[in-house]
Symmetry: C2
Subunit: 347 residues, 2 copies
């Protein structure tokens, strides 16, 4: 199974269309009132910036492919994207990041305290959108959807805790399997598995068996995350929107870094261990450049890229089972075309 | 109207009983699983520490006084206390606080990033308790309760944003009315107004007219907050549980500080303005001690204490209207006895 001919255009057009509609709906759901400078203006910042809209697009496509209409899942898709934006704010505080979607992060512009509070407000507003949308469902379906949302949020926070814990406690005895376990929680559940599951649940009125979405969503999300890690090292900053090498400054345990920790030649081991135990603000451009050259010379980026190829093949296999009961057509084609898109996307 | 004879015991016993039961329920609602050190152990920390349990006690008393049983409102009361604990974690990050309930704060022990994430998890878990409890109500009542919860959360975050904004932007042209407007949002809504309103709504099955709860809860909550501000300056650290003078280090715009800004004698004005524009970490024990002596010499603490007395009188007036339709008895007595309790509490 390879990319359909309609692949790239279908993906690009669908994401652009969903992105426009979801951004408008998010801004409609966020008050534009006082306190504006210290709260709602900040809450509106990230939802105003163009983004990929991958999560709501997956949710809407799964809903339609499993028998629903766009309207059935649209507010749920909006709530997912709002939760994602809230998580980005808190992530940018935790990571000390300088740029997001091509502009300064909220904490860079407004400090940590006001940004933390703005992220909290976006969580509450996401829940409000979700409540209003589930209020129109049967109580049973509403309960399933809300339970899925909570499980997704907790898994994401568990993954974030593990990643932060690895960095804080200088955990280095990690394998590629540890990395996959991490991103299953930190990335895949809320980026792919949850949007697919909840879309199919809403579309089918609760009838769809969504268990196979976990395996497919895991591989699709893992391909997304490994590509994201590589873009952080090699991307075009103007397209990528975040600072290049930001993960290295943070000491993030990416697949490439885990490969290097395992493979590093003896003369560089001392430097690597010292690097990993540094605080972020002690990592100068010079030591980051040295780490980067070690990743290059040990083939760690190629290792990660090859790993992503294998993951993408597994995603293609898993797609068949996950969408076996779905209607064929544009929506299923879009989801399948996302697999090669994940590996080639420039941003 | 003065304290009933049963007042102090009734308040103390009720708060102790509710506190025990709510702490147990909160810990039952928080996973005790992995990642434990980096997430759930942290999430369980504040809910494990003894606290006043004022908010759930108000919610339960209002529920019973308006015709409900303890069981009707108990999960809602637990969700309110969980939200409160989540807010305390994020507050301790924003304020850089060192102590909470007599022990180190989560950010002091584990850093800001993991603490932020733990607070987020507690918000999601509070919503889960709320969802499970509203699932047993009629859809109409559930929608009202959830809408009240969201409105409370947003008001709290609006108040927090305003307070942080005043500090960050060195806003000094403030009156006692600005302070009351701030604490109406930051404190009263989630400490008193919301627990009273949602308790009465659940107890009456949605029939109670809870509009008069706003005025009563505002005055009760304002008395609570002004007392809290004074305890921060004059309390016994072992009872109060937070660092004494912490508000001065933060430059928090309390009623006493607003009084001083208005009344400060010309020879001290330059120092005060310089103090207010400092960053927290530049405020040494020496400059904090000088500010504290200015508050003493200008009678700013007496001003705040007198103000709280007037607020408490207004609360007694407003109690009658708010509880006009309630059954007389132990629950209404408890709520009324909280008014003098607010002014005299040692912690």
């Amino acid at each position: 199974m390879t990319t359909t001919e309609a692949g790239p255009d279908l993906v690009g057009e669908t994401l652009a269309d969903v992105g426009r509609r979801v951004r408008r709906a998010m801004l409609d759901a966020i008050p534009d009132s006082e306190p504006h400078r210290w709260l709602y203006g900040m809450v509106r910042a990230y939802p105003s910036r163009p983004s990929k809209a991958l999560r709501p697009a997956l949710c809407l496509a799964a809903c339609r492919a499993f028998g629903g209409t766009d309207e059935d899942a649209f507010p749920v898709a909006v709530a997912i994207e709002m939760f994602h934006n809230a998580f980005l704010i808190h992530d940018d505080i935790a990571d000390g990041s300088s740029h997001r979607r091509g502009r300064p992060t909220l904490p860079a512009d407004h400090g940590d305290a006001l940004s933390l509070n703005a992220g909290d407000a976006l969580v509450v507003l996401a829940y409000r959108v979700l409540r209003r949308s589930t209020g129109a469902m049967s109580p049973e379906l509403a309960d399933i959807v809300l339970g899925e949302f909570e499980a997704m949020a907790l898994r994401t926070l568990e993954g974030q805790a593990t990643e932060l814990g690895w960095q804080r406690d200088t955990v280095t005895a990690l394998t590629p399997e540890d990395y996959l376990h991490l991103i299953m929680h930190k990335t895949c559940w809320y980026t792919t598995i949850h949007p697919l599951r909840v879309g199919a649940i809403v579309g089918s009125g609760g009838d769809a068996d969504v268990r196979d979405m976990v395996r497919f969503g895991f591989h699709l999300g893992a391909a997304f995350q490994i590509r994201d890690d590589l873009l952080n090292l090699t991307g075009d900053a103007s397209l990528y929107g975040k600072e290049i090498n930001g993960d290295l400054y943070e000491g993030k345990r990416t697949l490439a870094l885990i490969h290097l920790i395992d493979q590093v030649s003896p003369e560089h081991r001392g430097f690597l261990e010292q690097y990993l135990s540094m605080e972020r603000h002690d990592r100068t451009p010079e030591v980051v450049a040295r780490l980067r050259s070690l990743l290059d010379s040990h083939g760690s980026l190629e290792f990660a890229a090859d790993y992503a190829q294998g993951i993408a093949s597994a995603a293609l296999d898993a797609f068949g089972a996950a969408f076996a009961a779905a209607s064929p057509g544009r929506d299923a084609d879009f989801v399948r075309a996302l697999i090669p898109y994940m590996l080639g996307r420039p941003s």
